[in-house]
Amino acid sequence: MLPFLARRIGSLALSLIAASIVIFLVIEVVPGDPASFMLGLNAAPDTVAALRDSLGLDAPAFVRYWEWITGMFRGEFGTSYTYKVPVGNLIADRVWVSLPLTIYALTLSTLIAFPVGVLAAARRNSPTDVSIMGVTQLGIAVPNFWFAMLLQLVFAGILRWFSAGGFPGWDAGFWAGMKAMTLPAVALALPQASILARVMRSSLLDTLGEDFIRTARAKGLSRRQALWRHAIRNALIPVLTIIGLQFSFLLAGAIIIERIFYFPGMGSLIFQAITQRDLIVVKSAVMLLVFAVILVTFLVDVTYAIADPRLRRARS
């Protein structure tokens, strides 16, 4: 297991370096130079020159790349051009909203999907299975913003259990923060849970058809015992893959939900930064997301290896 981890960490570092170079180059090759791009077509030449100077664009590319990377290690991400505040603070505020929201939604989706998927597979073709398949089909088909509005209407509008939007900040206390996150997390989780439950069901059904399940039954295990002891762990690999993908998607892809609930998340930040051509924010925020995605991929790989011993000696 240790050599496996060492190999995976090595490839994690290499991926990060490659990603940072790609992000840097993409920002470099925008038409003209970053300064004139950020200021737009009608900018006065001396304004552009001043921005060039403050961005340090006159230095050679590899020097600027190095400055950027080492700056990130020191926690210096530069100053946002539009917000006029350090990018580090800006991103940190948003991450402390988006990351808990993502984890909350993903936990909910997993907690819903697992039992539902297992139940559907265990009672294949029964009325239970058919209804679960129908409901999850609906869950995938209906967009999450519609769920969001429905939740707002019912739980904030009619029942008044939750507020309809806004985030009080963690300073207001952990439970207040969690409460504010509940409706957006549920709205995000429902479609994901539908996907995950269906993946769980089909993966489990595939596994239940395997020869070793028949062997287990021949040993005297009941259908239920064979399912829990032999099928679930073998069925996990595709499920873990989907969970990994969902994490990456939720972290920055929750922008519509963030808008509906007036949530200051990463999605909104990046969207604003792009529309306002604030490349300094875009560069660092995207790098952070890439880092998160690569880290999650790494964690998923490690859980693969825990779930399946055959993968522990796989090539890096």
Binding site: R214, R217, A218, K219, L221, H230, N234, P309, R313
Partner: protein, 545 residues
Amino acid sequence: MSLLEIEKLNLSIYGLPILRDVSLFLEAGKVLGIVGESGSGKSMTAMSVMQLLPGGSEWSGHIRLDGRSLNECSEKEMCRIRGNDIGMVFQEPMTALNPVQTIGDQVAETILIHTGTSRRDAMAIAREALNRVGLPEDRFPLDRYPHNLSGGQRQRVVIAMAIALKPRLLIADEPTTALDVTTQAQILTLLKRLVEEDDMGLVLITHDLAVVADMADEIAIMKDGEVVEQGKTVPLFRRMSHPYTKALFEASGHVPERKTHEIDAAKPPVVQVDDVIRDYALPRTSLFSAPGRFRAVDNVSLKIARGENVGLVGESGCGKSTLTRAILALDSIQGGEIRLNGDLFSSSGGGPNIKSRRQVQVVFQDPYSSFNPRHRVDRLITEPFHLLDNPPTGAERRERIVSALTDVGLRASDADKYIHEFSGGQRQRIAIARALIIEPSLIVLDEAVSALDVSIRAQILDLLADLSDRLAVSYLFISHDLSVVRAITDRVMVMKAGRIVEEGPTEDVFLNPQHAYTKELLAATPILDAALSAREAREHRNSER
């Protein structure tokens, strides 16, 4: 009272009759062989005893184990009987074990769910069971995973699971079909020993008459869900009162009639392989070390003359499939060269010469997975036409399709059908038609009859012999089944660990093997007549005593 009594067992699945009036009896300490071709209902008979039938099954009749009627057992009671009173071993050892659990856990599970013992004691019993099946502790600790074991070793683990609690009855469903002959011999010996030691009854299901003649005290021959003949082994084979038994017997030892092929020494050989080396890169052990190499084919040279049928035999992992892929230029080679009819086809560093490719075609083992199910037969068999400079079109194309199909014993109208409309044997005929259609000088037959039932196999062998006589096409016939190779080839090569260790005229090699490995292979191959004679002598001795 017999150990196992099956009386008038009828089974239907979703209304489709599968078994009809099957009655079988087995005494403790005896072996009952159930023989039949695929679809004869032999596995379903076993699954009925286990009460592990697929959905939609309805059965009637009586199944009694040690006098206890299984008809009256609830599913819960059956769970207590399975693994405890009845053990079962399956055909495919590669998939019969849970890949994410250690072998110790899997064997111990049988013990844990049936007895109240502690996990520690269960592990100790599991250890003992693994020792008994020939997996000693020093080489096979309990924390091994199945993927660390070979097919034969995995089958031993499955057997250990089945016998851990010393069941009264062991059911083995084609336990050695997926294994090499030497491994098969070891597993059969092991089963025989366990039956004697524990006084178990063994139901041995197989399609291989030679195996069953060696192992079984009594035999039941099944066809289309019915037992057509049953009785003590020797008299049954000597008498063979039912025509199907006779047909099965003849098909299993079938030798097609073949002309002797004149070899024209003046012409260049159809294929000439010189000092071919095929290396595989192994996974890197660390990021910076060079990857290791595994030499799958090690300096192999061979020649096949025009019209000559050459066999290549060896056990799994010996490199025969790798050599085949190299000859077909599907893989690049790392040393040596391959010539087809004198022209360079591929060499180390030189890719395949596309112009030569039309001279060699291949038929693979599995007739079910080697066709694209979305294409009609005419499109499937004309695929090699892309190798020609001027592929035939219109009426000529149609003519070639018809002649290829009739050559292999199919009808012209079959060209418009899809592959799922054909049986396994017919599909293999289509595969041969696909190989024949561009008139190659060499057809590589990679285990081409191994997946077929004996009666179908006999027909395909006849077809191959006939085509070889008529069209003077050469075969490279690759198989692990020595009797088939003996029936169809002029010359045979024996391969082991990437090298050809012996070669010569087929009959010479079979009658007078020189290399120790060839002798070992031949000794391990079950032969029906020899097995019967040995059984007869044994029974004679016992009756005199």
